[in-house]
């Protein structure tokens, strides 16, 4: 039974205004196997998956399940055909409780059709206990962190006993520990005979979990074969159409003066007694498990949240950051980990999104200079290789990775001295990742100070000069470049607080 073809798509085509996202895709997923899809940002992976899940309708082509042609008009039908999907962009109802979000759209009911709350509660508690999640079922999603919500989405998708499970970059928002949990689950599902379609930009993950790999480029299948016939370089070469240097483009730069210093920073209950500094030309990493409080610290420094105690110095001068604007004025910017919530203005154009934080630059005599703005931003978009029909296109129609590039461009345009990058390569393809790393090196050469918060240890180790490791709202240790090891970092990250 395993090894039979469960799902097949043939000659799928799909266009959006200005782009042909899919151009005749053929692809099949077997039972009891993990099929990895990879490809550059904007290659069409998510679009293909959304077609399979009934969110988009293909312009041409057909979908076959168990050899039979099926029409999938909407997610309800998809579900009834045994398909479930974890979406790339977290899309949730903030006001909903955990228990409800787990069952939304498929509530268990009593005989007369009324919702069986007792059953929901029971099953939620079972699930949460089984997964060792310490949450009350009544917690609202808006009170959770992105990673918690992502974890719940994963649990939800696999709790349906679906036969085809699509995971669109499920690990982009979670850390190593949760990845392990997820992989254990995937292995169970595979043994159970499910077909899993797995999308990721993380090469090590791909090679750990895949049975088969298909590479997409510009809406076409470039290659598709069993994992064993591939190696990483080959996948990358297929993806980006050229060979990439697998190493991190880290350069040795003379470290300058302290550019940012944080002393005894405390925010009740989120973090405590935080001390660290960043020097000119330095890339400083922050490692830690999910919920270690890294994001919270950065938000406080950047002026999104306050802090009760402590001091922040920029270039030796004590500063009071009231809000984001004063932070930007001090030439400090932060790329958020939650792109959808704190990054993009969905209905507005790429251009407007990029210029948003530097509008002053384009003001002449009280008026926005349209040409100057357009030219500058066109430059940035080209430089950052943003894949978009035009800079007037609304940002929400860009692929996830390209949205990330647009937001990065926004911050670059402010010409910052200090960059706080919270999960900067989340959802970015290998090629673009490499470009971002290069950009970071470039910036540090210009004596900028960079903070890199990341849950991917390899990139921290590859790019940073120093790494602070956090656990439960405290800094547990500081490592120099020659002390970097995955084990060493993990040990600090899991150390019990006194």
């Amino acid at each position: 039974m395993n090894g039979e073809i469960k799902l097949r798509v043939s000659n799928i085509e799909k266009s959006f205004p200005g782009v042909k996202a899919l151009d005749g895709i053929n692809f099949s997923a077997k039972k009891g196997s993990v099929h990895v899809l990879c490809g550059e940002n904007g290659a069409g992976k998510s679009t293909l998956m959304k077609i399979i899940n009934g969110i988009y309708k293909a312009d041409a082509g057909e979908i076959l399940i168990d050899g039979k042609v099926v029409e999938i008009q909407n997610p309800i039908q998809a579900r009834s055909l045994g398909i479930s999907m974890i979406f790339q962009e977290l899309n949730y109802m903030p006001e909903m409780t955990i228990e409800e979000s787990l069952f939304v759209g498929s509530w268990p009911t009593h005989k007369y059709g009324n919702v069986n709350w007792a059953e929901i509660r029971k099953r939620t508690i079972e699930l949460l206990e089984k997964e060792n999640l310490d949450y009350s079922p009544e917690t609202k999603l808006k009170d959770l962190s992105v990673s918690d919500i992502q974890m719940l989405e994963i649990l939800k998708a696999i709790s349906y006993n679906a036969e085809i499970i699509i995971m669109d970059e499920p690990t982009s928002a979670i850390t190593q520990k949760e990845v392990e949990v997820l992989f254990k689950k995937i292995n169970q599902l595979r043994d159970r005979g499910s077909s899993i379609i797995y999308i990721s930009h993380k090469m090590d993950e791909i090679f750990r979990i895949a049975d088969e790999i298909t590479v997409l480029r510009d809406g076409c299948v470039v290659d598709s074969r069993p994992k064993d016939e591939y190696d990483i370089d080959m996948v990358i070469a297929h993806m980006v159409g050229r060979k990439l240097d697998g190493n991190f483009p880290k350069e040795d730069i003379k470290i300058g003066e302290k550019i940012l210093e944080v002393k005894d920073l405390t925010n009740q209950g989120n973090f405590k007694d935080i001390n660290f500094h960043v020097n000119e030309g330095e890339i400083v990493g922050f490692a830690g498990l999910m919920g270690a409080g890294r994001t919270e610290i950065m938000r406080s420094i950047f002026g999104l949240d306050g802090y009760q105690e402590g001091e922040v110095f920029i270039k030796g001068e004590k500063v009071v950051i009231k809000n984001v604007k004063s932070s930007i004025d001090k030439k400090m910017v932060m790329l958020s980990e939650d792109r959808r919530r704190y990054g993009i203005i969905p209905v507005r154009s790429v251009k407007e999104n990029v210029s948003l934080s530097s509008l002053k630059k384009f003001i002449y005599g009280g008026k926005l200079h349209a040409k100057k703005e357009t030219d500058t931003i066109q430059d940035y978009a080209t430089k950052m290789r943003v894949k978009t029909p035009s800079i007037e296109t609304s940002i929400e129609s860009l692929s996830g990775g390209n949205q990330q590039k647009v937001i990065l461009a926004k911050w670059m345009l402010t010409d910052p001295d200090i960059l706080i990058l919270d999960e900067p390569t989340r959802g970015i393809d290998v090629g673009a990742k490499y470009e971002i790393y290069k950009l970071m090196s470039e910036l540090s050469k210009q004596k900028k100070g960079i903070i890199m918060v990341s849950s991917e240890l390899p990139e921290l180790i590859g790019m940073c000069d120093r790494i602070y490791v956090m656990a439960k709202g405290r800094i547990m240790g500081e490592l120099k470049r020659d002390e970097f090891t995955q084990e060493g970092i993990m040990k600090l990250a899991t150390k019990k607080t006194s």
């Binding site: 579900r79 899309n91 109802m93 909903m96 498929s106 059709g113 919702v115 209950g269």
Partner: protein, 329 residues
């Protein structure tokens, strides 16, 4: 220990049920200001007076939670009401009159639903168009004339059932239905999901269009009933009646904590919102505040009530975080 627990309960009440505290405060202040306020007669008056608007507000609550609203409810009420009255004067059948009101109102609301789901018109525009059309239809049908001498029809609005005035009975039943739908049916839960995030709801396998249509149908039933009560209460078929009721009902729902951002709201909250407005109007009349001044006071108190509600809920969120942190230590 005990006082601690009491304190906790009190702070819980203060935050979660703040709008009821506002209501309670209003009742107490009003009672001090005028002892008649808490008489059975007066309370029953206020309840009867707010019944129609409250019933409309329950429909609005369901619609607003799902990210829509109904600007047509006042007009559709009038249309359904005059048709119903006119059928009654022709047939003398209360049952038939009742059914006609509901059918007419549901039909209008299905048209609303159609415009919103099939033709993707924003609910504001779809129901605004219906507001004008239904009013025009009511006036056209009656040629702008009120229908008088409606006989026993007044029983709906002026009669009593088991000693309780009929409008209040209807209001309570519809309160219960709304609460039940929102809390205990998949329709209700879908309504919250759609209002919370329509795309996500769709991706979760909810048939968004069907749910929206159902929400309008439920609203239609409520509006139809309100139409019967209204006409019966004013003792005539008034094609020009209930102007602005869509607005009053929206207000009651919003004061009661329903949010235009969608996904938030409860039936009892709306009831509280409606009573706040009703009591406020009542006590100002009882204490004979100058009627222009009344408007100023009413505006100010509505703003204060909502601001207090929001403020105490924010405080709660902060509290909660504190708790989690304590736990994790």
């Amino acid at each position: 220990m005990k006082t601690d627990r009491m304190k906790k309960i009190w702070s819980d009440i203060k935050s979660k049920y703040s709008i009821f505290l506002v209501l309670a405060a209003l009742v107490i202040v009003s009672w001090i200001a005028n002892e008649n306020f808490l008489s059975v007669g007066n309370l029953s008056n206020v309840s009867r007076q707010i019944a129609v608007v409250t019933i409309l507000a329950f429909g609005q609550t369901i619609l607003i939670i799902s990210g829509m609203l109904d600007l047509s409810s006042g007009s559709v009420l009038a249309l359904a009401g005059v048709l119903s009255v006119s059928v009654y004067t022709m047939t003398e059948s209360l049952l038939l009159a009742f059914i006609v009101a509901i059918l007419a109102s549901v039909a209008c609301n299905m048209l609303n639903g159609l415009m919103v789901t099939k033709f993707k018109a924003p609910p504001f525009i779809a129901t605004l168009a219906m507001m004008t059309m239904a009013r025009g239809a009511a006036l056209l049908y009656t040629n702008g004339q009120n229908i008088y001498q409606i006989g026993d029809y007044v029983k709906f609005g002026q009669g009593s059932t088991f000693g309780v005035p009929t409008p209040i009975v209807f209001m309570i039943i519809i309160l219960f239905i709304t609460w039940y739908i929102l809390k205990h049916t998949t329709l209700g839960r879908s309504v919250y999901a759609i209002g919370g995030n329509e795309e996500a709801a769709n991706a979760s396998g909810i048939n968004v269009n069907k749910v929206k249509m159902k929400a309008f149908i439920v609203n239609g039933i409520f509006v139809g009933i309100a139409g019967v009560i209204f006409m019966s209460r004013v003792n005539g078929g008034m094609p020009n009646g209930a102007v602005g009721y869509e607005f009053k009902s929206l207000t009651a729902a919003i004061i009661g904590g329903t949010s235009f951002t969608g996904g938030i709201g409860t039936a009892v909250g709306t009831l509280a919102g409606s009573f706040i407005v009703g009591f406020l109007d009542n006590i100002m009349v009882l204490t004979r505040v100058n009627s222009y001044l009344q408007q100023i006071v009413r505006g100010a108190i509505i703003a204060l009530a909502v601001i207090y509600d929001i403020w105490s809920k924010q405080k709660r969120t902060k509290k909660k975080l504190g708790n989690i942190q304590e736990k994790s230590k």
